[in-house]
């Protein structure tokens, strides 16, 4: 066997090892999180952890209910804000904007996607917190410190914009002009064409973009942690402080080493994050793949 063949075999094997590593990394993470959270699952029942509000690490009570509610509210609200705005934005970029404006806006959106989350957090702290405290909350007749669920949702929605917009723009562009022309030629207005042709033809992409945006919002840690206020209670209004799973992990990290059960509880929270994001991303990926296969016009 000559040198080149040996090099070929070794190189191929190295590539194989890297590939195997990538495919087991996922299971490795799942296994590590599972095995570490067994400790808390042995002593506390899973319903007790998920649906109790009693949080006292030193006594061994880890009720995650307020945190889970907080996560759901923050994620849901951010998507309610982000989805219509980003959809309309994508429609405008593809269908209505003059070419010049389109060329300016698209790099803007790429840049928005590249801004680090901690910078989003800092900007929310500098701009949104005073805005919510002094303008928006008094508007609704509520007193607020500005560090609240609403502020966190606002900044999360800004972080979700670029994901949904860029995916939708890509999919709107891929719709054949003939489809739109058919609709326009029978007298539909441009918006009606968008509503009945563009949205329908790219429905799978829109759904999976929303699911991926959900994954981003659900797992976002730092920006949320910086403005949500960090109190594990069920917020009675949107202007009360709250807590999300990811932000709790980040703020409790320094304490977590001291009490094994606390550590285990935090890892259980990481496991919830992991599994939920996994389910939503799988759904998103599958919808997108099926759509790509089916609608290959």
């Amino acid at each position: 066997m000559d040198k080149r063949q040996i090099r070929d075999i070794i190189g191929t094997k190295l590539m194989l090892i890297a590939t195997i590593f990538a495919s087991i990394l996922f299971f490795l993470i799942l296994f590590t999180l599972l095995s570490k959270s067994l400790l808390i699952l042995e002593t506390n029942s899973i319903t007790d952890i998920l649906f109790s509000s009693f949080w006292n690490p030193s006594r061994g009570h880890f009720g995650l209910f307020p945190i889970i509610i907080g996560t759901v509210i923050v994620t849901g609200l951010s998507l309610i804000i982000a989805v219509p705005i980003s959809l309309l934005c994508a429609v405008y970029i593809v269908e209505f904007a003059p070419k010049k404006i389109r060329q300016i806006i698209r790099p803007f959106i790429d840049l928005l996607a590249g801004v680090p989350s901690v910078v989003y957090g800092l900007c929310a702290f500098l701009f949104l917190v005073p805005l919510v405290r002094d303008v928006i909350a008094p508007w609704f007749g509520v007193e607020s410190t500005g560090f609240c669920v609403f502020t966190a949702s606002l900044i999360l929605s800004v972080m979700v914009f670029p994901i949904i917009i860029s995916m939708c723009v890509e999919s709107f562009c891929a719709i054949p002009v003939e489809l739109k022309e058919a609709s326009l030629s029978v007298g539909a207005t441009k918006w009606e064409t968008v509503k009945k042709v563009t949205f329908r033809a790219s429905a799978p992409t829109i759904i999976s973009a929303i699911l991926l945006g959900f994954g981003r919002a659900f797992g976002e840690t730092i920006a949320v942690n910086m403005v949500i206020g960090g109190k594990a209670m069920i917020p009675s209004t949107l202007f009360d402080p709250g807590e999300t799973l990811a932000s709790r992990i980040a703020s409790a990290y320094s304490e977590m080493m001291s009490i094994p059960k606390y550590e285990s509880a935090l890892l259980f929270m990481a496991l919830i994050l992991f599994v939920v994001v996994l389910i939503f991303n799988l759904l998103g990926v599958f919808i997108l793949r099926r759509a790509k296969k089916r609608c290959s016009y």
């Binding site: 901690v118 990811a246 994001v277």
Partner: protein, 282 residues
């Protein structure tokens, strides 16, 4: 005016409003960081390390965070590139079955979506299990895992577009599969590979959640891979809410530099894409 025309103009206005919201949010972010950051930036700020502990520590600059970020992100990107190029090349039809490569692509897509805090928690568990704690090494590891799916998927998409005729030409001259993959396919896919690496670097250098536990936070420049280190994102995270203005200004300066680095990476990737595209056979 009938309802249909009214609807049309209503939604046009709504679209304009939403585009203004999106564009102005970016402008506000850049504006806030530039105004706050530029005023707190000075020569001392970027040439001195911090002193006197975090949160309340006055004096010093952010040199340790800048270097820490580079020490974390550059090796992580290098490692992720080495792993990723192997994986991306291996996913070609020449090496493996479409079913297997489909499964690996799916698992990479899933890894891409996993929140970075989960990577952080996972890596610190691994590091504690092998006997190291918070360290530069743990941070590098976490960032490598974070960047790996991004870099690999980008390279993979670019490698997919390499025409099969090109590989056939290489095979017909007697080259092995490995030689073809490394010398022909890699060069042809270079623009996509570069874009992936730079995107991964940008993501890695800006991520705070994954290095929060793993790299820790100190005032000094790390002297070995087992020291903990500060980084720009973690410095912003720890200092932004400090009651002392001079400490807060460190966070602003760090945010400014971080934003400049991220923007630079984005611009460089555009320029490189254009340049490296010249050597691609079309």
């Amino acid at each position: 005016m009938n309802w249909r025309n009214f609807e049309e103009s209503l939604f046009k206005i709504l679209m304009l409003i939403s585009i203004i919201i999106v564009v102005s949010s970016l402008l506000i972010i850049v504006g806030l960081i530039v105004i706050n950051g530029a005023s707190s930036l000075s020569i001392d700020m970027i040439t001195q390390s911090s002193s006197g502990g975090y949160y309340l520590g006055k004096g010093g600059g952010i040199l340790n965070a800048i270097l820490g970020s580079l020490f974390l992100a550059l090796p992580a990107t290098g490692l992720a590139y080495l792993l990723g190029i192997g994986i991306a090349l291996y996913l070609q039809r020449d090496f493996t079955y479409p079913g297997i490569s489909g499964f690996i692509r799916l698992s990479l897509d899933i890894l891409w979506g996993i929140p970075s805090i989960v990577y952080g928690v996972f890596c610190i568990m691994i590091m504690i299990a092998v006997g190291f704690g918070t360290s530069l090494l743990a941070g590098i590891l976490a960032l490598t895992f974070l960047e790996l799916p991004i870099i690999t998927r980008y390279m993979d998409e670019s490698i997919k577009t390499v025409p099969y005729e090109l590989k056939e030409g290489s095979y017909s001259l007697g080259s092995t599969k490995f030689e073809t993959a490394v010398k022909v396919v890699r060069r042809q896919a270079m623009p996509g590979i570069l874009a992936g690496v730079l995107l991964g670097l940008g993501r890695g250098i800006g991520d705070a959640a994954s290095i929060l536990f793993t790299a820790g936070f100190t005032d000094s420049i790390p002297s070995s891979v087992f020291d903990s280190t500060a980084a720009l994102p973690t410095m912003i995270y720890h200092l932004y809410a400090s009651p002392i203005p001079s400490v807060r200004s460190k966070a602003y300066a760090a945010a400014f530099i971080l934003l400049v680095i991220v923007l630079l990476i984005s611009i460089i990737s555009r320029v490189l894409l254009r340049k490296s595209g010249r050597y691609v056979i079309k």
